[in-house]
């Protein structure tokens, strides 16, 4: 058996790339074999023809070729209707021809991407022919999706609106309807049948074994169908993708999957998974907005869509394009934007198809060379991998008189000879006529002419591609837009390691001035990258630039010229000299200690996502204590951060040393995880964040499971398993794999397979950690099980007896996402459904819940469930007589003091609002003024708290309760994170409080969710703005009411809430208002553009 497997393994061809992240620096060139070059003069392009043109592509500088489908097919959808996945259409050559092409491309350093069209096949595929003849219910039949009627999945939209009237088509042989999201000759495969997955993986392995470097997953959002959904982006789809990715990772190195998901960026984000689904995905909505920005001479469409683009895992990448083989899709724009685009770019109705415009790049911009260059400069400098469509490098035109999208799929124009040099066949024999009109015809636009013209678009493209390839920053760097008063100029900075590039683009047809805020780059010298021309140095003052019509500038921000000695000194500072490997005394002590304290650690900490003091200036970061572990390769470090102003802070920094390939890999993959280079007796390496290394993560787990003690100089680090830990590992034993979660915030989480999660607390405070304390209490002392089960903790105990929790272990709960994300999804559906409905009148005596029951769907039930779980949690927290959890009565004087505290907080927030009023966004200034005008009323609300006469009970509470702190788990919820508000001190977070505070937190979270979802909805449909706000209010009221009803029913009779209804309301209103004021303060300080939400919340609470 093993010999057989070995033989199979050795039969695989390696991919051509050596860098696992090659796709980040790639320039992808999309082409159709049929349209590129015809070697046998039959009028159809073929692989031998393509091989002949590889030198041209290499010379152009592209690095990856994306081939459109070349498989056997009836060709009713340009090859996307595949009849055999494992060979080559005879029109294009043979499988051997493909192999020869692959080898020739690899020899030239070109990677190759092919299509994996797995949503559907052709109706001519043997699978379908077999299925339609098979008996219903058999596996053969179930390769596709069948139904007795055409009423299933009614909520799924029709994509090809021009040709299809339904997603179901009657098959007379099968005597049933089959499902198809695209053409009726493309039946969708059924992924509920495991045999389908098996076949798809066979296809995948077939091509990867051959050495293909990348696969484009076509139409991926549609592969699974479920009743009651729109059959797009379903959780089951991600299960399928994860399987495909796992199969790829298991057997192949440096291969890539690219997702075609024509969706909003936030909807595409899940296709990257945790870095375990697709490596790349197209950014569809950006493309039409680039054209819109150009036509409107306004950067807003671009900056807006980029603002809506979420962060993606570090190993993932967006695929960017200006045009492709399909229409310029307008699915991802609002109705007004679509109308505008039609008017601006498709005067002739023949230019339109489905929901888009079927034109090439040059034709869209009226063949204006400067516009073409400008758009390409944006494409090449935006974060992502640029994808060029064949022919666009020479400015090829289109033929709108050809059907479907064939107008942009005409033969490549190589020369001014017959058939554009594409083929020597009789012109009538060509698969498509070449373009022949006087402006766009091949006599005017062809490769040969442009190669001999030094000023041609082709030469310009070649130079730009070569330039882009010199800088990793374009493929891998961050993006930050620079605000400026002139909206005709789009300016942004890209940064990656020590590369930083300022890009400025003039979207206008006239010259434009702009002043850019570059103070943070003070002292750098902008060097224009095309001509290597130095510009005046950057100072604190706004940096003036003037851009010609459609002009663009790429400026590398270089440090001011250094002298040899300075450079030598710099090297000296950053390189730590170590003694023997594993000698942490030397590595962290002596002369190294000063370097670490003053330069290296402050710089490292500042770059970390989990670092909460980004607005503070770190004066120093010194190592307080360290405990070597992991056979001396790593150390658990406790570091003290001193700031220029304010209190010191303590942080937990597990660090490790890496050498050789491991060091190079990390430097490449996670540069921010590198602390500094080191040199020890055996050579050079790096000091880095230990939690990037799987072996360290697994070793950390054994600290808890093995109850290990690790000695530091000032204290001991010790693992404490919980009594439930054995039950968490009993079935499968200890996990063997670990990885760091990409959802990192103020802490770092490690996932141990799908079973355990360890949260490493970065910021440390000495004293019991409320998160660990409450999780342990609820797990070990109560019957409340709607939390992640507590598995244990790692504590640091100092010699003086004080201790801090370094990490907490919990069981990993399989879930459908956190409550916040799930709620936003539900709200999206709610707004979509409500947009077409009339707002119900509230004068009919119906409750808000009754009024929106039809539109809010399952969310009302979910809110009730959440209310119940919240009450159960509070009852559990109040159920013990253990000192730290025993409930206490709130004395009258404490009630008075509570009222004062709340009123003081309100006063401080009002003062902050007044100071910032002039800086609020335009749509929030008026609301801000209204809130200020009602400050006395706000204050009075808090003073009224004194009037409460009910007996109030203080208990331990969640402390920072909102939708982001719960997980949606099989129609129920699990509650997480008992850490409290991170900004508060430990003693404040452990204080016993009124449970109503948690209720208030959740009610505010409902309001926030409603208005955040509304903002997203309105971004797509601005015309809905006025109309949908009442729907958002109605939803908030209904959901809050359901939550409260269930909570009070569950807690009824207990002491966690006041028995008197009036008192309950009074306290609740006060806390809700306080929470809204807290949010207002937070948004004013951190996200002024969000300030509208708490302001509307405060006003509605005052009504």
């Amino acid at each position: 058996m093993s010999t057989y497997l070995n033989a199979l393994r050795s039969a695989k061809s390696a991919g051509s790339a050596t860098d696992p992240h090659w796709y980040k620096d790639a320039i992808i060139y999309e082409l159709h074999v049929r349209a590129f070059a015809d070697s046998n003069n039959d009028g159809i392009g073929d692989f031998p023809g393509l091989i002949q043109k590889l030198d041209y592509l290499q010379d152009l500088g592209v690095t990856c070729l994306w081939l459109l489908p070349f498989f056997p097919s009836p060709l009713r959808d340009d090859g996307y209707d595949i009849a055999d996945y494992m060979t080559v259409h005879p029109n294009y050559g043979t499988l051997d021809d493909f192999k020869a092409f692959l080898a020739a491309a690899h020899q030239r350093g070109l990677q190759v991407m092919i299509e994996l069209v797995i949503n559907h096949s052709s109706d001519q595929h043997p699978w379908f022919q077999r299925a339609r003849h098979a008996l219903p219910g058999t596996p053969e039949r179930d390769f596709y999706v069948w139904s007795d009627n055409d009423q299933k999945y009614k909520d799924a939209r029709i994509i090809f609106t021009d040709t299809e009237k339904s997603n179901w088509t009657w098959d007379p042989v099968a005597q049933a309807y089959f499902w198809h999201r695209f053409f009726s000759h493309q039946p969708d495969l059924n992924y509920d049948n495991p045999l389908v997955m098996e076949e798809v993986l066979k296809v995948l392995r077939f091509w990867l074994d051959m050495g293909v470097d990348a696969l484009r997953l076509d139409a991926i959002p549609y592969i699974v169908e479920r009743e009651g959904t729109n059959c797009e982006n379903l959780p089951e789809t991600h299960v399928v993708i994860k399987k495909i990715r796992a199969a790829m990772d298991e057997g192949y190195k440096n291969r890539v999957i690219l997702a075609e998901a024509n969706q909003w960026p936030t909807d595409v984000r899940p296709y990257f998974g945790d870095g375990d689904e697709c490596h790349m995905a197209f950014h569809f909505p950006l493309m039409p907005r680039i054209y819109m920005a150009l036509r409107q001479e306004d950067r807003l469409p671009i900056t807006e869509i980029m603002a809506q683009t979420p962060e993606i895992p570090e190993s993932c990448q967006w695929g960017l394009f200006l045009r492709n083989h399909d229409e310029l899709t307008l699915e991802m724009v609002t109705d007004d934007e679509r109308d505008y685009m039609y008017l601006a770019y498709s005067a002739d109705p023949r230019m339109r198809i489905n929901i888009g415009i079927r034109r090439r790049l040059a034709a869209l911009v009226d063949n204006n060379r400067r516009r073409i260059e400008l758009l390409n400069s944006i494409l090449f400098s935006f974060p992502g991998t640029p994808i060029l469509y064949y022919g666009d490098e020479i400015g090829m035109g289109d033929n709108i008189y050809l059907g479907d999208r064939n107008g942009v799929r005409t033969p490549m124009q190589w020369t001014a000879d017959r058939n554009a040099g594409f083929s020597r066949a009789n012109p009538a024999q060509l698969y498509s006529p070449v373009i022949m009109d006087p402006v766009w015809g091949y006599q005017a636009i062809n490769v040969e002419a442009q190669q001999s013209d030094a000023s041609s678009l082709l030469n310009w493209m070649r130079n730009m591609i070569a330039l882009r390839k010199l800088f990793h920053v374009f493929g891998r760097g961050t993006l930050k837009f620079l605000p400026s008063a002139n909206r005709k100029v789009l300016a942004y900075v890209r940064q990656y390691g020590n590369e930083q590039v300022l890009c400025a683009a003039n979207l206008s047809r006239f010259a434009q001035p702009v002043q850019l805020e570059l103070a943070e780059f003070e002292g750098t010298v902008p060097v224009e990258m095309l001509g290597y021309v130095e510009f005046p140095p950057v100072t604190k003052q706004p940096y003036p630039l003037t851009l010609g019509p459609y002009g663009f500038l790429w400026l590398e921000l270089q440090p001011a010229a250094d002298t040899p000695n300075e450079s030598a000194e710099t090297n000296d500072i950053v390189m730590l000299e170590a003694g023997q490997r594993g000698d942490w005394e030397i590595l962290l002590g002596g002369a190294n200690a000063d370097k670490l304290k003053n330069d290296i650690l402050p710089e490292f900490v500042r770059k970390q996502r989990w670092f909460g003091g980004k607005s503070r200036h770190i004066r120093s970061a010194s190592v307080l204590d360290f405990a070597p572990f992991h056979d001396g390769n790593s150390a658990l470090i406790i570091a003290k951060l001193e700031y220029e102003a304010g209190e010191d802070e303590t942080y937990f920094l597990p660090l490790t040393t890496l050498y050789g390939d491991a060091a190079s890999l990390l430097k490449e993959a996670s540069p921010n995880a590198v602390v500094t280079p080191i040199r020890d007796a055996k050579g050079e390496g790096i000091l880095c964040d230990a939690l990037t290394q799987e072996s360290v993560c697994l070793e950390l787990l054994t600290v808890i499971t093995g109850k290990k003690k690790i000695a530091g100089a000032q204290g001991i680090i010790e693992g404490f398993p919980s009594s439930t830990l054995p039950s968490l590992t009993e079935n499968k034993g200890m996990p063997h794999n670990a990885r760091r979660s990409s959802a990192e915030q103020s802490n770092t989480s490690i996932l141990y397979e799908d079973r355990l999660i360890m949260k490493c607390f970065r910021k440390q405070e000495f004293g019991p950690n409320p998160d660990t304390e409450i999780a342990r209490f609820l797990t070990e002392h109560t019957d409340f099980h709607h939390i992640a089960p507590f598995g244990g903790s790692i504590e640091y105990q100092r010699e003086d007896g004080t201790s801090a929790t370094l990490a907490m272990l919990q069981g990993l709960v399989a879930n459908e996402g956190d409550g916040w994300a799930w709620t936003l999804e539900e709200l999206e559906r709610y707004f979509e459904a409500s947009a077409l409905a009339t707002l119900p009148s509230e004068n009919e005596g119906k409750s808000a819940s009754e009024l929106i029951k039809e539109h809010a769907g399952i969310y009302l039930d979910a809110a009730a469930t959440l209310g119940r779980r919240t009450a159960e949690m509070h009852l559990a927290l109040a159920s013990s007589q253990i000192e730290d959890f025993r409930p206490e009565i709130l004395e009258p004087d404490e009630l008075v003091s509570l009222g004062h505290d709340l009123a003081d907080h309100a006063l401080r927030t009002m003062s902050l609002l007044k100071t910032n009023l002039s800086r609020l966004p335009d749509d929030a200034v008026e609301l801000g003024g209204l809130v200020i005008s009602r400050r006395r009323e706000i204050s009075a609300r808090f003073q009224n708290v004194n009037t409460v006469r009910s007996r109030l009970q203080r208990t331990r509470v969640h402390g920072d309760y909102h939708l982001g702190q719960v997980l949606r788990v099989r129609a129920d919820f699990v509650i997480l994170d008992f850490e409290g508000e991170p900004a508060r001190s430990l003693s404040e977070r452990r204080k016993k409080q009124l449970p109503i505070k948690d209720i208030a937190g959740m009610l505010r979270s409902f309001h926030y969710a409603a208005f955040s979802a509304l903002a997203r909805h309105v971004a797509r449909r601005p015309e809905d703005h006025q109309k949908m706000e009442p729907w958002a209010n109605l939803w908030t009221r209904a959901v809050s009411a359901e939550f409260l009803r269930a909570y009070r029913e569950t807690a009824a009779g207990s002491a966690v809430i006041p028995r008197d209804d009036h008192d309950f309301r009074l306290i609740l209103d006060a806390y809700v208002l306080d929470k809204a004021l807290y949010e207002l303060g937070y948004e004013l300080n951190n996200r002024p553009e969000w300030v509208r939400i708490p302001l509307t919340g405060i006003l509605s609470l005052l009504q």
């Binding site: 030094a454 330039l467 001509g531 010229a561």
Partner: protein, 408 residues
């Protein structure tokens, strides 16, 4: 060079050596008997494990005393094209030696010229001291030079390396060098795009720069026989300068970010460094330049911008005594040829042939200028030229990034 690139028998030999402290590799054909004699004279390595590797098939280890710290080991070179030039063969051998050092886990690796002039205790100690004590990863020798020798190195290779990679090394391409284990690993794997034995040159100083490894120089009072006897100048240019231009292409993303050069720590005695050389008759050199200027105008105009062509035209008109090529003109000529090499403006062999008369013009100009200067004065003149390379680097970068023919 990946493991598998070592010849099978060599690989097998290296795997049986056990841990090695020092590998001394002879990078060219050598008489095994002479080598054995010279090794026996080496002193002071008791208790160490030193392997001396040389290309060949005969085993002479038995002739060394059993208590010797040394072991002689023949190694096989990949089958190389017999038409390769001596330095190309040496580069192949150097790569093989580095790959052996990696296989053996040698702490230090020395690759020495096959004339064995460097193989004595004093020189070995100097190399070892630089690597073990001074922490150098790569030690390159500085040989004594005469005013009129090594001019291709002084006029192109060294100043180009300095301007591009920031390494002020006197001889970037040498028959002798010493390196640390990590440098050996880098050098053994430094040309993944070349097949074993294809004659691609090994540029240790460039590889060190790309890896940010520390480079030092060692002054050695050794003179190796010249290797260019009987070779056409255009052949030499194609091989040496062409190789430097190829390296530029593969490392463009690196050298375009280097903005200044740094001095290289240099150890050893200065005593014998400066020698006056034989005077040079510049007339045939100038004649070659003039001949090229008449016949190669068309080719030059494909490579050089009008302002340089004008300068060359002016030079062709002056009398031989005042024949001078300004540094800026020469440096830009080299940079423009590097660019044409990258763009494949014409056949690369023809391109380097077209550089030959220009190079001879520079030699004539230099010889005329330094004829009356002391060796130290000539050295300073070369330093001036090297600075011109650095000052004109922005010209190269801008031409490289935007190679528009329509330029001044």
């Amino acid at each position: 060079m990946p493991k598998s690139d070592l010849e099978e028998e060599t690989l097998s030999e290296t795997q049986h050596t056990g841990p090695v402290d020092l590998l001394i590799g002879i990078a060219g054909a050598v008489n095994a008997g002479e080598l054995q004699q010279q090794v026996q004279q080496l002193q002071g390595y008791q208790g160490s494990h030193v392997v001396v590797a040389y290309p060949g098939a005969s085993e002479v280890e038995a002739a060394l005393p059993a208590e010797s710290a040394f072991r002689l080991m023949p190694y096989s070179l990949p089958a190389a094209d017999r038409s390769l030039l001596p330095w190309a063969i040496a580069s192949t051998a150097q790569r093989t030696i580095c790959a052996m050092a990696v296989e053996m886990g040698a702490k230090v690796c020395l690759s020495l010229h096959s004339d064995l002039a460097t193989l004595d205790t004093r020189h070995l100690e100097l190399f070892l001291q630089a690597i073990a004590e001074k922490g150098c990863d790569l030690v390159l020798p500085v040989y004594p030079s005469r005013k009129f020798e090594g001019l291709l190195n002084h006029s192109i290779l060294a100043p180009l390396t300095r301007a591009l990679y920031g390494q002020r090394v006197r001889f970037p391409l040498t028959p002798d060098f010493g390196c640390s284990a990590q440098m050996a690993a880098r050098l053994s794997d430094s040309s993944p795009h070349h097949a074993a034995g294809d004659g691609a040159l090994l540029w240790p100083s460039i590889q060190a720069a790309l890896s940010n490894y520390q480079v030092c120089q060692l002054r050695l009072d050794i003179q190796h026989a010249t290797q260019t006897e009987g070779l056409e100048l255009s052949t030499i240019l194609s091989s040496l300068v062409g190789s430097a231009f190829s390296e530029m292409e593969t490392s463009a993303a690196y050298w375009q970010r280097i903005r200044a050069s740094h001095p290289t720590a240099t150890f050893g005695d200065m005593g014998q460094q400066w020698n006056d050389g034989e005077p040079v008759d510049t007339k045939p050199l100038i004649d070659s330049f003039l001949l090229g200027s008449r016949n190669l105008q068309e080719v030059w105009s494909l490579v050089l911008p009008p302002v340089t062509l004008l300068e060359l035209k002016k030079m062709s008109r002056v009398d031989p005594a005042s024949f001078r090529m300004p540094d800026e003109v020469w440096v830009r000529i080299v940079y423009d040829f590097a660019l044409a090499y990258r763009l494949r403006t014409m056949n690369r062999g023809h391109l380097m042939g077209a550089l030959a008369p220009l190079y001879l013009g520079w030699v004539a100009s230099y010889a005329g200028e330094v004829a009356g200067l002391s060796p130290m004065g000539a050295e300073q003149r070369l330093e001036q030229l090297a600075k011109a390379y650095e000052e004109n680097k922005p010209y190269l970068v801008s031409r490289w990034r935007w190679p528009d023919r329509f330029n001044p």
